[in-house]
């Protein structure tokens, strides 16, 4: 650690600093030669530039290069649906927990009800997210008891008009396979938990 005493004002400190900057400059080129052809625009090159061993330049040329996002990365939610016999079935039951927990209150849900009895049906008639207001906190996905809403990885949402930013049910909908592709570890864990719960249920039934 440096001390304030000693080596006073001979320009040595400036020279040392310049030496460091020069080293950095050289390292960029040495690194380029060492990883010839692999340092830029390749997945391993991008991973290398985000690793602890990187020397020299570390910037990424967006949009030609994109840093892969980690699994937990969260950006604007989407609704999961399952495809059964060609029909789309949303996992959402319109219980409203996401709308209640949402800190900026950007989720709007219309619950469907049976036209004859007026009793609520576990299926959202309308589901809106105002993504201008969404703060990407991830609470809706975290507290959803049905794993029906999850946070997306797609962060390129720029559009020319704000009126496009009210996402409805169809715009929010994504198949389960998409979820499994962006969050494989979480998906596997949830599936395992579900299977276990089902086998336990079956076991309890068979005992009874």
């Amino acid at each position: 650690m440096s001390d304030q005493k000693g080596n006073y004002m001979y320009g040595l400190g400036v020279l040392k600093g310049l030496g460091l900057a020069f080293r950095h400059f050289l390292e960029t080129y040495i690194d380029d030669f060492r990883h010839w052809g692999k340092r830029y625009k390749t997945p391993e090159g991008i991973a290398y530039r985000a690793s602890k061993d990187v020397k020299g330049i570390f910037t990424v040329q967006y949009p030609e290069e994109k840093i892969p996002v980690p699994e937990e990365f969260r950006f604007v939610p989407f609704l999961i649906y399952e495809e059964k016999n060609g029909e789309i079935e949303y996992r959402c039951t319109s219980c409203g927990i996401c709308a209640k927990v949402c800190p900026p209150q950007c989720i709007w849900i219309v619950r469907s009800s049976d036209p004859n009895t007026g009793r609520p049906i576990p299926d959202p008639a309308e589901y809106y997210i105002d993504i201008d207001i969404c703060m990407n906190c991830g609470y809706c996905a975290e507290y959803c008891p049905f794993d029906a809403i999850k946070m997306d990885h797609n962060y390129e949402l720029a559009s020319y008009s704000r009126s496009n930013n009210i996402y409805d049910k169809t715009m929010l909908g994504r198949p389960v396979s998409y979820y499994a592709s962006i969050r494989p570890i979480n998906y596997q864990r949830e599936e395992n938990a579900r299977l276990e719960a089902e086998t336990q249920k079956a076991a309890r039934k068979s005992i009874a």
């Binding site: 650690m1 440096s2 304030q4 080596n7 004002m9 001979y10 320009g11 040595l12 400190g13 400036v14 040392k16 600093g17 460091l20 900057a21 950095h24 985000a50 602890k52 990187v54 570390f58 996002v69 980690p70 699994e71 937990e72 990365f73 969260r74 319109s94 409203g96 927990i97 709308a99 209640k100 927990v101 949402c102 800190p103 209150q105 989720i107 709007w108 849900i109 219309v110 619950r111 609520p120 309308e126 809106y128 105002d130 207001i133 703060m135 990407n136 906190c137 991830g138 609470y139 975290e142 507290y143 946070m151 009210i166 570890i185």
Partner: protein
């Protein structure tokens, strides 16, 4: 929370028999004082009892009882938990004497209370609005004041479910109909009064130089709000005599969104992501402070592993903050972007860890009441290990070599913006600013929270109190943070990360609580009052950036205009937190 100084605290009602009583309300702590005695009382506790450091002043509006309450948190610079004193005022005509003459650090905080609550402070030197503009109508933190986009008192709003037919906020409150003007105010013909008040406050003078017979005049220079050196939209009106600063008034509030009012509408859990937006460099430590405050009310504590994860994140964010400060400070000194980018490279690697753990680089929202949101994903602990044991020490050493003994930097920074320990304490300076002035005060030691009492580290302290020492203290702190991180990595146990089941509706018993952490910028406190319902009744943030600015004028006086930028940079402000 264990408090090593508990034995030193005595019942002070014996010393002030007729003016002080215990606060007997359930869940409350401290004392209630008769408001007319506040000045005498403060003078006495400062001079005789050693409470030399005013931590926070805030107010609470008890609308149902028709009362306003001022809450003082006063500390000893030797450590221990704060002394909480409250003065109750009549809501219709709230007046109390100012304590600025005793604790100069109260200046901005009292102005803020006047601005947001409309409580008058008699004897305050400059009682103007601070966050709102002078033409603003009403005092927004009063419970009966409603904002332009008002929908309901508390979230969740009933219009969202089960019949949530979407309606945009603009349709509900068309532009022009969503704001109030004071009576007789016409925005078209308005002359900016606050400017006049600001400049009168600075009081320019003209004089004749005795020796030369030349007439001189003091000049007022406006820096900001759109100035590259002010780290955001911050403005300073500087009064100059030649090149020397003789007066300075900071102007802030350009980024004001009344975070505290939003917080009172929010649910307890809903506030957590909002705290990220305060000091957006250090969302992890903001989360930490808020989680501590609510956990204190709920009476829960996180499991072991979560405690370690919290400390790990808090220390990583401290390194992030100080690295960013390096970059900015050196930019302010004219070094342009090279040191900035060197520092940001390391910051980038730490943010990658935050992104993998919390899901977002800056708006982490990682802490929950009684734990953290999720465990470390596979491989992240190794990444942290690599950084902490290998890369960061190397790179911080590099920065040290690069900057510390650079003659230009030393010429610019040594002896500039000097603060004595007495001044620093009086102005309620916190964090590195206080420690660079030779006061070894660090909440991690003074009032340990979480599991900080387990770790072996030193409180970084430097003694010259100038810009250079404020830089060095941060350098030292980064090494201490690495020391803590090494212990965390070695000791972190396996186990659960959340106490009980994660809940979205937490039950918070009625009462008050003040949760504070040593954030990278200093004491970050959350003062929360719950009335047992789903939303906080009062949610106040003791923002280190804001209160550190109180001392800006006295730091700058006597220095040259070119040094203002550097002094401001060395205080390390973030406008998201200053303006709230």
């Amino acid at each position: 929370m264990s408090n090593p100084n508990i034995a030193l605290e005595t019942d002070i009602t014996f010393i002030f028999p007729n003016i002080l009583v215990h606060d007997e309300r359930p869940g409350y702590e401290g004392y209630i004082i008769k408001s007319e005695h506040i000045q005498n009382f403060m003078q006495k506790i400062r001079d005789d009892l050693g409470y030399d450091y005013l931590s926070s002043v805030t107010a609470v509006d008890y609308l149902p009882e028709g009362k306003m309450e001022i809450v003082y948190h006063v500390r000893k610079s030797t450590g221990g938990s704060p002394l909480v004193v409250k003065a109750q005022l009549d809501r219709e005509n709230p007046v109390i004497s100012s304590i600025v003459s005793i604790y100069p650090g109260a200046e901005f905080q009292e102005r803020e209370i006047w601005d947001l609550f409309g409580i008058k402070f008699e004897g305050h030197p400059d009682l103007r609005r601070i966050l709102m503009w002078e033409g603003f109508s009403g005092h927004p933190l009063r419970k009966d004041w409603k904002e332009g986009y008002y929908e309901e008192d508390n979230k969740p709003f009933k219009s969202r479910w089960p019949a949530g037919h979407y309606k945009s906020a603009e349709d509900k409150n068309p532009l022009g109909a969503n704001l109030d003007f004071p009576a007789g105010f016409n925005p078209e013909s308005w002359v900016p009064e606050p400017e006049v008040a600001l400049y009168t406050g600075l009081g320019r003078i003209e004089r004749k130089d005795e020796e030369t017979g030349i007439n001189t005049e003091q000049v007022i220079v406006n820096m900001g709000p759109q100035h590259p050196s002010t780290h955001g939209v911050f403005r300073m009106a500087v009064k100059l005599d030649g090149e020397t600063i003789v007066g300075l008034k900071p102007v802030m509030g350009y980024l004001h969104r009344n975070h505290e009012k939003i917080g009172e509408r929010n649910t307890f859990l809903g506030n957590m992501p909002y705290t990220d937006r305060l000091d957006y460099f250090n969302s992890m430590s903001n989360n930490f402070g808020y989680a501590l405050a609510i956990e204190k009310l709920m009476g829960i504590s996180p499991p072991e592993r979560a405690e370690y994860l919290r400390v790990m994140m808090a220390e990583l964010t401290r390194i992030v903050n100080h690295l960013a400060l390096f970059g900015f400070l050196l930019n302010d000194l004219g070094a342009y972007f090279t040191p900035f980018l060197y520092a940001f490279e390391e910051r980038e690697l730490i943010l990658d860890i935050f992104e993998a753990v919390a899901g977002s680089r800056m708006m982490c929202n990682y802490f929950r009441f009684g734990g953290v949101a999720r465990d470390l994903p596979e491989g992240i602990l190794n990444k942290v290990k690599d950084l902490v044991f290998d890369r960061l020490p190397r790179k911080i050493d590099d920065l040290d070599l690069y900057i510390t003994n650079n003659e230009i930097i030393r010429h610019r920074a040594e002896g500039v913006g000097v603060f004595t320990p007495e001044q620093a304490l009086a102005y309620s300076a916190v964090g590195p600013v206080l420690r660079a002035s030779g006061v070894p005060y660090d909440l991690r030691r003074a009032q340990p929270y979480g599991i900080y009492n387990r770790f072996d580290f030193d409180v970084a302290v430097r003694y010259h109190g100038d810009v250079y020492d404020r830089y060095l203290v941060r350098l030292d702190e980064m090494f201490q943070s690495l020391r803590i991180l090494k212990q965390v990595i070695n000791d972190i146990p396996e186990g659960p990360i959340q106490e009980g089941k994660p809940q979205y509706q937490v039950r918070v018993p009625a009462g008050e609580s003040y949760g504070c952490v040593e954030g990278p910028k200093g004491e970050l406190g959350f003062y929360v009052i719950s009335n047992g319902k789903a939303n906080p009744w009062r949610y106040h943030i003791r923002a280190p950036s804001f209160i550190n600015l109180t001392s800006l004028e006295s730091l700058c006086i006597g220095n040259k205009i070119a040094d203002v930028v550097v002094i401001l940079g060395s205080i390390d402000i973030v406008l998201g937190e200053t303006d709230r």
